[in-house]
């Protein structure tokens, strides 16, 4: 057993830190305040190869492993959770299923530009009446000759409006239940495809979260991802991988809040002494650091398993459950240790606390993670 990072992971960390500190951190406050999607940052992420980290070079990727990818999302999220989720949703929810379930033609046509960062990706599963109960899909796809006709709508779609390529789940045979769901690759400029209401959110405010509307969208037959009826299974497997990304995002948020707090308690004085002098501060920090480190081990373990081709569904669920609850707890403590200042926008910890909450909800709520973990125990 070896807990040391390889030399290449250490060099990647150097790049991630330099990029995050200089290109991402300075914008974090503004994109939260103004709720703007950081389009320039996405262009810079593309130049530096962040948009296709875990895919082979032959498909336009960096040829790195899942750990390299998780570490990138962690580093970006440490300073800006919005930027972290843009990369995570693009990589794990759009490019990854095309890589894992796509035909060679689909990989050539869609994966290469996605991995190169020339196109941005998104994923549409959630509907107004199909959240945790994702099987209750009301979007319908009907085969008509050489194409499918898709009608329906999706909600809470990350990267919506900015993405060029969407993975869309739709019911092809209602009588089959979950086995009647299929996955499709849908291009943003398809006639009848439009972006609806943009959500006003508590956190990750720079991330675009919108409704998608599909009205008589004609999707060529060759854009069916995997086999007909395999969509639910593809979605679940895709979310297993996505959880590593969101777990890494949560880990980054927690680490960012901890770092801000360590700096603050050394400077802020009360009763004539820096806050760091008081045992309550020391004990709080010790608990925060211990949880962050434990979360990191779970996230890295899940990434390692995926890279090695080992089972990772339970590990990813554990990583996401623990890292997201850690993010919520650590950011809450960070605000508390900052006192009144922590509640203001003068310090970044209030943003981090707002951003942390979503990690307990999207790509499977904490309750869903507990279902996944216990189902593996009790099977």
């Amino acid at each position: 057993m070896n807990f040391n990072l390889s030399k290449e992971h250490i060099m990647l960390q150097k790049l991630y830190k330099e990029f995050s500190d200089h290109e991402v951190k300075p914008l974090a406050e503004e994109i939260d305040e103004k709720e703007v999607f950081p389009i320039d940052t996405v262009r810079k992420l593309k130049e530096c190869g962040f948009m296709g980290i875990p895919f082979p070079k032959a498909y336009g990727g960096a040829g790195a492993d899942q750990l390299a990818y998780a570490m990138a999302v962690e580093a970006l999220s440490k300073v800006c959770a919005t930027t972290g989720v843009i990369v995570s949703a693009h990589t794990s929810l759009c490019a990854a299923p095309i890589f894992e379930f796509g035909t060679e033609e689909q990989k050539q046509k869609y994966l290469i530009p996605l991995a190169k960062g020339e196109k941005l990706g998104a994923f549409g599963l959630t509907e107004a009446n199909a959240g945790t109960d994702a099987s209750a899909q009301q979007t319908i796809a009907i085969l008509e000759g050489d194409h499918y006709l898709i009608n329906g709508s999706k909600i809470f779609i990350t990267n919506a409006g900015y993405a060029d390529i969407y993975i869309i789940m739709a019911m092809t045979d209602k009588s089959q239940g979950t086995r009647g769901i299929s996955a499709f690759i849908v291009e943003a400029d398809t006639e009848g495809f439009s972006v609806g209401k943009k959500e006003a959110k508590l956190g990750i405010k720079g991330s675009a979260t919108c409704e998608l509307i599909l009205e008589n969208c004609r999707i060529p037959k060759e854009n069916l991802l995997g086999k007909e009826g395999k969509g639910f299974s593809i979605a679940m497997k895709t979310l297993d991988g996505g959880r590593i990304g969101i777990a890494a995002q949560a880990l980054g948020i927690a680490q960012g809040a901890l770092d801000e707090t360590v700096a603050y308690v050394k400077e802020r004085k009360q009763f004539g002494k820096p806050l760091s002098y008081f045992q309550n501060t020391q004990f709080q920090l010790a608990d925060m650091d211990t949880k962050v480190e434990a979360a990191r081990l779970l996230v890295y373990k899940a990434a390692f398993n995926k890279t090695m081709g080992l089972p990772y569904s339970k590990e990813a669920a554990m990583a996401k459950l623990f890292a997201s609850e850690t993010a919520m707890e650590v950011t809450t403590k960070a605000v508390q240790l900052h006192g009144g200042y922590g509640y203001t926008r003068e310090y970044p910890v209030e943003r981090m606390m707002r951003d942390a909450k979503i990690t307990e909800i999207y790509e499977g709520t904490s309750e869903v993670q507990r279902m996944v973990i216990s189902a593996q125990l009790l099977k």
Binding site: E8, M11, L15, C48, G49, A62, G63, A68
Partner: protein
């Protein structure tokens, strides 16, 4: 075009702290970086590569851990990396360093050699110019800009109060200033290549033809007699006044201290 970029791995002096008791630098745990002037030199080479196509070789002399500087250069886009390392090279001053580097460069093809102006741990600004002398090459130091025009290099040679535009034909050597550009970030894919596909060539004494009396500590004419941290006698005082008044104030203060 073949470009050689000389780089040095140095301690990040912005992270160096002083030992409050002894007043000496604490180097333990200080991260190592590519010397800033050299990194801008590499960026200048990469821009020529982007624009015109070029093969870039980075070369460094140092201990084995200088490998990291070469891997970082690969991460930015360098094509080939050579690490000159041998116990016999240790303790070299600028003369011995430039003799060793020049001997290695003699074995390579080049149209342009780039070296950073000076290293932040030594500040001599001598190694680049000395390499040019050993190789009998024209040199332009203190480059603030570099471009290619009709097969010649146009170098903006910076002075404190202005600049010269110098036209020079290759092969030549140019020393670069960190202010000349903003070095690019590494690329994720290039970092992976740096470790999984690229090999660093390790050259030692046996691989180059150099007079043994010109290398290492023994071949170094510079002898450091003593190094010390300059003590601070008193805290400075800042006056924010008009220049005319400032001049008067300075003269008064100097008189007060019997300096003038």
């Amino acid at each position: 075009m073949n470009i050689i970029v000389c780089i040095k791995q140095v301690p990040d002096t912005t992270e160096v702290k002083l030992d409050p008791k002894t007043g000496t630098l604490i180097r333990d745990g200080v991260p190592s970086i590519i010397n800033p002037d050299d990194k801008s030199g590499l960026e200048a080479a990469l821009r020529l590569k982007d624009e015109l196509g070029a093969h870039i070789t980075v070369i460094t002399m140092g201990p084995l851990q200088a490998e990291n500087a070469i891997r970082e250069a690969f991460g930015m886009g360098a094509d080939r990396g050579i690490l000159l390392t041998d116990r016999a090279f240790a303790g070299a001053d600028t003369w011995a360093t430039s003799c060793t580097l020049a001997a290695a460069i003699k074995k390579l093809q080049y149209d342009l050699i780039i070296a950073g102006r000076q290293a932040i741990d030594g500040d001599t600004a001598q190694v680049g110019p000395q390499i040019a002398e050993h190789l009998h090459l024209p040199q332009v130091s203190y480059a603030g800009d570099l471009r290619v025009e009709d097969g010649s290099f146009i170098v903006k040679r910076m002075f404190e109060d202005g600049y010269h535009l110098v036209k020079v034909k290759g092969p030549c050597l140019i020393t670069t200033l960190k202010e000349m550009n903003e070095p690019r970030y590494m690329r994720v894919g290039k970092i992976i290549e740096a470790y999984q596909e690229k090999e660093i060539e390790i050259w030692n004494l046996a691989d180059i033809e150099v007079d043994p009396s010109n290398i290492g500590l023994k071949g170094s004419p510079t002898k450091v007699k003593k190094s010390f941290t300059k003590g601070v006698k008193a805290a400075g005082k800042v006056y924010e006044v008009e220049p005319k008044e400032a001049a008067k104030l300075v003269v008064e203060k100097l008189k007060e201290k019997y300096i003038i």
